[in-house]
Symmetry: C2
Subunit: 439 residues, 2 copies
């Protein structure tokens, strides 16, 4: 006999939390579809060289790679590389801008530690254009993030938005040397974590002078409702073309998002959002739950210039955002924010009092068929070994809203006793009236 176990770093849920998790997945999917995104579902496995084209360093070490026959294979570690491959491979058959969502599992052989998962769901939405892509889509991504996060039950939240051209422009305006730029960007990227003071001294150690430090750190620390911050930025002296473009783009995106109905309370311009060094080239997003900043960014993404440069010469700019649901669900569970109170998808549980009585069973079968036909989910507790009382208790524990009991009397006159589990009320109704009684 083997001791059953589940690999560490892999989430495996009991029914009630699984139902809650799936509700979250479904609501994210519904939001993505409400923006007209088409679903994508690529293989979990790809040729290793396809996946490794972009990876490197830490990512490469984390990849699950192996051989089958003489093919080197690997499991996807994100949904962006598969998107790049898909678009490059099928470009001739796609309509551009290509707006797709993809909800699926990805794999990273992280060192096992609390809160780190080796298999986790990503929920991605991206819009990819050929050569150009309108900023209208950058605004849509703000609206997507607002609707998706609002549906997760996290309470208040803010989508923080910036534009990489603003920080790049600032580096020009502060006359940072090309050699120092990566390190300065890195320091600015960490500012939301370490704070303004530490960033100031870090920039000093890199060798920036007080004027440069003041200009960068203080500008980058700006955040707040869109119009106020954008006005300040527009008035900053000595602007380069890049900086101006960044401010103009950000202004346009914030304005359109507002027109789309994004509440002002859910969107903040925050120049501290930099998001790493290489990939993003324009708009960048991070989303924080007001009551749980320790969760980190819940939904992040941005605008990139060139999705699939490894696979095609076509220039494919895109904008997108991603939600890591497994980690978030785990954090929410630990914080008591997941309401996992239903252990069944059924609205009605039918209990034949004596499951050995053929007439009672036939009536229970008929009732379950009729109610399902009306589109309502029904469970039946057929088990003969357990008492009626223990089965009723078992049904109650699942949180099912209604129970229909069929005993000899009910089977005799074609009725069922329907119990409302919330109120305890019970009424005997004809079988054909049960679906109405539980509607």
């Amino acid at each position: 006999m083997l001791k059953p176990s589940t690999l560490s770093g892999f989430m495996e849920l009991l029914p009630a939390p699984q139902i809650a998790f799936n509700k979250m997945l479904d609501s994210v999917r519904a939001v993505f579809e409400s923006f007209g995104a088409v679903p994508l579902d690529t293989p979990v496995m790809e040729r290793a060289e396809i996946l490794l084209a972009k990876a490197g360093g830490e990512t490469e070490k984390q990849i699950y790679a192996f051989e089958k026959g003489d093919t080197k294979l690997a499991l996807r570690f994100d949904l962006t590389v598969p998107l790049a491959k898909y678009v490059a491979l099928h470009a001739g058959q796609l309509r551009f801008p290509f707006k797709r969502y993809h909800i699926g599992k990805v794999y990273r052989g992280e060192r096992a530690q609390k809160g780190r998962f080796r298999e986790f769901y990503q929920c991605d939405i991206d819009v990819v254009g050929v050569d150009t892509l309108s900023l209208g889509y950058d605004a849509e991504i703000v609206a997507v993030a607002c609707k998706a996060v609002a549906a997760l039950g996290l309470g208040d939240f803010v989508v923080n938005i910036s534009n990489r051209k603003i920080v790049s422009g600032l580096l020009e305006m502060a006359e940072i040397s090309d050699a120092a730029r990566p390190e300065v960007m890195h320091a600015l990227d960490k500012m939301p974590k370490v704070g303004l003071d530490e960033t100031r001294s870090w920039l000093g150690e890199i060798g920036l002078n007080p004027r440069q430090i003041a200009m960068l750190a203080e500008t980058m620390a700006r955040r707040g409702a869109g119009p106020a911050v954008l006005d300040e930025l527009a008035r900053l002296p000595g602007q380069t073309a890049l900086f101006r473009t960044g401010v103009e783009e950000l202004t346009r995106v914030v304005g359109l998002a507002g027109s789309m109905g994004v509440p002002a309370a859910n969107l903040a311009v925050n120049l501290g959002i930099v998001r790493g060094l290489d990939y993003y080239t324009g708009t960048v997003y991070e989303t924080f739950a007001t009551a749980a900043p320790e969760f980190g960014s819940i939904m992040s993404g941005g605008r990139y210039d060139d999705l699939a440069g490894f696979y095609t010469t076509q220039k494919l700019p895109g904008v997108g955002i991603s939600l890591g649901l497994t980690r978030l669900f785990d954090l929410m569970t630990n914080a008591g924010l997941v309401k996992a109170d239903a252990a069944t998808s059924a609205r009605l549980t039918v209990i034949p009092m004596d499951p050995a009585d053929p007439r009672i069973c036939a009536a229970a079968a008929a009732l379950s068929g009729q109610v399902r036909q009306a589109g309502i989910a029904v469970d039946v507790l057929w088990d003969e070994g357990k008492s009626f009382k223990s089965r009723l208790g078992s049904a109650a524990k699942t949180g099912v809203p209604f129970v229909a009991i069929i005993g000899a009397d009910e089977a005799g006159d074609g009725t069922a006793s329907v119990k409302n589990m919330a109120t305890g009320e019970q009424a005997r109704v004809p079988l054909s009236a049960v679906r109405g009684a539980i509607a």
Copy 2:
């Protein structure tokens, strides 16, 4: 630059067929949930020894196995072994009978050939009891299969049902030696494929006498509407207890399925359904599309005595059925049975005539936000590079039912020109009336 490609044996769909595929997955899921089954979502990866406990021979060769660090890992090759592990591991926290569904990808490194997939979706539903499990669940599985297959758009179909105790009883009644049984069972298992005559001569080669051959081959060839065949079986002379139990169980299951509303035309008793040699111990199911018998069984399963004997001493009998959707979708596509006519999930596509005009864009943004708020999916073609006409053509190609056009006139008076793409009719309505116009 790398040439992008997808591994052979891995399905990767374009948007329109992907939407059609997801509709099929969703309808199967809705059917499973309508029976009160809870969702299960186990890791794609398990410790190799967990997965290999049951596998052997051909299955073991097909498994994707590899090492990460010093752990031997493997990808699941079905959803039954993960279910067994899950139930054994979490038994103390589950409610029994445990009725779960699982829709997910499984992996088999099959030799690449047309119609064979290395990654494919299985859609499984099983009910697992402790020590005993009522035949009521065997009947529910018939009802599940009927509803699920009916939703797939395959036209007429028949769920074929039998009971392994009948064939085992027949072997007793025909006095087949223990040594010959496996080979005889194998021959009977193949009878639906090779036909009655060939099975007769095969049984002769095994060494059966004419009386044994007549008894087995002719009884096993029986099939038809439940009551008629069951009556014949009940009248067969020389019945053993095992045979009688099999006929009684089958009679009860067919009767309850009828009470549940399963149409007589969709269910046939077919003693030729044997389903392999080892696993199943009672009811067995196979489902065939009337117009496409060459698809083979679409949804198959049965009753087993002991789900998790490798992982626990608890006796866990179960009954379930499985649909391999990837292969079926491929067969249906090749047969022209998949209606993949929508390349968008949107009901409305908004086209701002001049996407450089801020007033037009603001109106398009506001319209899209309002209509989404009403729960309707909206796409917007923001792209500045393309003419209005080419964008309208692009929208038409997706099969979207409505297009809302916003030009300078519309932006000026707060209206949109709404075009019904099926009829070509176009009407100018206030923005707030658009959601009503496309309902």
